[in-house]
Symmetry: C5
Subunit: 281 residues, 5 copies
């Protein structure tokens, strides 16, 4: 008996990019549109008042960007840090999960299981691409009881959530240390300026340079890391939601419940206007 479903990667971080393209939907353009818009407006504000040149200072970039990376390395084990890139991919290529599709499949499977028995789901599960869905069906086909299935699927969902949370946390941490490193850079510049105030005309530009690290820190935090942490949480919430829905469906199927009741139960997960019953004729 093949347990292929158990090995299938499912919707998990760290896949090679081709798989990402297959498993996930069209790129979430909101992330791109949002970032382009925000940075374009900042650049516009800069060019309206002066050239870009006074906003670029390599040592300031180094202390903020390098400092944040360094501090985050203190904060997280190296192995977790390396996952950040594949995690960031998730914000660009979110899973194309559609709850109504899952519901339709689950209701159909529940009818099938009642007519032909639970083992009929073994073939039916071939069409399921969703790793968690496939594993759940396999557990039911294997003859496990609901209590055991629920335990396994709940642990799986919980740990998926924990892994996602860690990813979002790393971004949040980087977002929080950005302004902190920016302030440290500004303090250094400020103290150097204050020690050498011989030439009043140099005060302004020196202070402008000192403020640059604060500016970089604010940009990093508010225009990159914090919103990406936010999107990651949202993308994760949608996957967790799908897992919960699928789990309830599989448990109801394994319980031999009436397809209509299964549908009612699963419809409770989604907004009323999205509910399309197969039994209203």
């Amino acid at each position: 008996m093949a347990h292929a479903g158990l090995k299938s990667p499912g919707s998990e971080a760290g896949l090679p990019i081709q798989n990402l393209m297959k498993d996930r939907g069209a790129m979430d353009i909101a992330t791109i549109i949002g970032m382009v818009t925000a940075f374009a407006l900042v650049l516009l504000a800069i060019f309206l008042g002066s050239g870009l040149v006074i906003f670029i200072d390599i040592p300031s970039v180094a202390i903020v960007v390098g400092g944040v990376i360094g501090v985050t390395l203190i904060n997280y084990p190296l192995s977790d840090m390396l996952k950040v890139i594949s995690v960031a991919m998730k914000t660009l290529f979110p899973s194309k999960d559609n709850p109504t599709d899952h519901i339709e499949k689950l209701v159909a499977f529940s009818g099938l299981a009642r007519k032909e028995g639970i083992l009929a789901l073994e073939n039916a599960s071939q069409d399921v691409n969703h790793g968690f869905f496939k594993k759940g069906l396999q557990l039911a086909v294997d003859g496990l009881e609901n209590q055991a299935i629920r335990e396994i699927l709940e642990i799986e969902t919980q740990k998926l959530e924990d892994r996602h949370k860690l990813g979002a946390e790393i971004f949040t941490t980087m977002g929080n240390f950005g302004p902190a490193m920016g302030m440290i850079g500004t303090l250094i510049g400020l103290m150097q300026m204050l020690q050498t105030m011989n030439d009043p005309s140099s005060i302004g530009p020196a202070m402008a340079v000192a403020l640059l690290t604060t500016f970089y820190g604010a940009i990093m935090a508010n225009m990159i890391f914090l919103p990406m942490a936010g999107k990651l949480q949202n993308v994760s919430a949608k996957e967790i939601f799908a897992n919960e829905l699928i789990m309830e469906g599989i448990l109801a199927i394994n319980n031999g419940e009436n397809p209509r009741v299964v549908e009612q139960k699963l419809h409770a997960f989604i907004a009323p206007k999205l509910r399309k019953s197969n039994f209203d004729k």
Copy 2:
């Protein structure tokens, strides 16, 4: 057998505006009064000291408003963002739910169910406009057991709460990024001013302009998005409260409990001075 109740939109975001008008009560004038008052006072403070003209600067508006929208697009999937407008409607047209009406109906239904059996509720439920209430009654009429009804209704309430929470979160996020984008704009203006301090007389006005984005950010956050997020949470809490009350009532009815006990149980939800018993004669 018609399952029309299951398809009825109920009290959900995203309805066409006419339905909103039917399903919801008079506009919650507090939102309007509050916004008019707050903005009128800010304008008054502005006009007492100067003209409005020094408080208007298109590029500053662009960086704050556009920047916040851009950053929020990074933070939330496009589909969630589009729901914001219909969600905002909720703060203006909150549901006209009245818990005492629900209690009266539920107590009456409990008497009816004890006298004529649970199936008698099928006709009675025609008068119920509340989607969740109707679905709950239908589940009881369909003969589901209390355990199954509770499960379905709890999932429905939980997911409704999650959807509401997402709406309030988007507003809160916009409220939080407002001051952040304002600070970024002010930093840009400040650094440009500091680089070109040749003419002392221009320092004041340049700094005033730099502060404009901070001002816009503070207005956006504290006078629009954060209070609207707050109202959304309150409106949501009231709907969740009604759902919980209705669920307890339907479970008690399905349990065949004495109408007087049902009333006592449901009265526990509301403040003592609102409790009007039908059994005190």
Copy 3:
């Protein structure tokens, strides 16, 4: 059979003032002493350095006080806002609940119930002024089982806590928007001053006026709304505590438990030095 107890207002917000005086104990002078002390010291600090006159500016008061009220109206439904005044009363006239009195009564009732049966509590409950206590006894007398009584009383306590929490939240919200509106006012004044810096001698006073709204916001938040929100939470915690104690007592009585065990159970709620046993002779 009279259910008067169920209608009795109990310890709830929104009562006419005479009832408040009857139901509640002596005014909690701490609130008054605290407010007088704090404001007297602020006034003292003001008079030591200058007259009061430079700290009074009507438009500044308008933008902070009016702005906070406006913003809070956006945040909360009108009906909730109107309850604020009666809620504020609670911080001045907290309920005179004394847990040791409740324990003594409950232990006495438990003895009575064991000797003469649960119905004997019907007469005994006449002396009980506490609405929740009375309702609980009535439920036991009515013959409900412990499971049902616990459900009703827990819902009642939970919803009382929710209502209290809403009251404290409104105060906290007002406390949070105070400094925000103060900052907006200061930004307006600051920008107006910066635009017109012709006369250096006017900069100081103009900036002092600009700071006034920040000052008002800080006073409103830290000397009125936040501490009142805090007291409301404390007053509420005491009522919830009493309800929990009374509920455990009534359930133990209805369970027919030994008065000594009832006393031991209820003594667990209070500090050891407050425990006075009736069985140590």
Copy 4:
């Protein structure tokens, strides 16, 4: 039958000082060392740069210290405020609870109970000074079942925690209002200075005086109240921990469990290197 144990004060706030000395261990010198160190360093920093005299200003002390006391009186009922002093004692004289001693006693008692019956613990409990331990043993000796004992002891621990939490909260509140009152004082001084900037040479000293209240607020919060609130939480966590350990032990004893299993269960509470088994020989 004597129930003396139930009246014994146990480890509770508000005891006369002599009892404190008896019940509690040697003063926790960390609190004293920490406070002396921190204040000595602040004084050193002051004396290195100037005399102490410019850091002392009676009205500034009055507005910060008096203001914080006033505001805290608004925030907490008078009765809770009065307990603060005895609560503060706890941070200096923490209970000398040692978990390994408790474990040893509980394991011994479990052997005794298995050999001579649960009633044999009546005499054995004479040596126990810990009020909660004594009460738990007494409940077992009185013949209550595990369910009832657990209920009583859990309520007792929960309410002890609530009382401790209130104490720590009052300190935290004072710590939070310290900087707030400091800022109000500084705003007053700043506005008075700005109104009368005739003499430029007076600006510096006037601003220094204005900053004094901010300084006092920061000292109060960060060097007194917040760390004391922290220690109180830690001291409380240790007492709660002891109560939980004792409760599990007593329940296992009452359950008639094997002393070796009792020991294994209780060893789970403490770090592996502290575990010394009486059964490894």
Copy 5:
């Protein structure tokens, strides 16, 4: 019967350094790389603008470092403080736990237990170095029921988490008090400077010195204590995760579950791509 496993120190703080080296894996170089990177960049920024000498001031170091230590001593009992050093070691030498190794062992043990009985695990457990794993196996071998084993292992995991949390909390507290003591130092320097503004040329350097404590506080908090608190939490989360996984495995083994089901259950803990089944052939 030897209970050596119960005394084995396991993965706990406070071990002599040699044991650390044996029990733990290669030093987590991320902590070192991160700290070196961050500090090197700060030094670079300093040397690009001036010499290091203006950033070193012994009294400023004393007030910030000494002050933070003093304040933390007020906040935590002396005994907890002394554990900080061994706790800090954890961030450098995290446990080399590998969940897939644990899973493989547990699945093998589950096969063994089904073939040869639970007592066969006594010998097998000799190879297990993980203290918690060993204790769990021993409990199963001793014949305890699942309910008792779960209770003991859950308490052990909970208390381990509590001890870890305390360690991370101490670092967080030090990270929070760093900027606070820095601000107090800056306020002192600022007030001293403001009192003696005779010589305008001294204002700049005096203010630079005043800012030094703020700089030290920001460095301490953001580049040492807060990221180390973060890493400690992550290291702890990994240990807790391993304990949970091991506990579920031991309970399943003791339950006599099929090795394949055990594997499926334990695979739910880890990411799909890490799952390597022994049953797919």
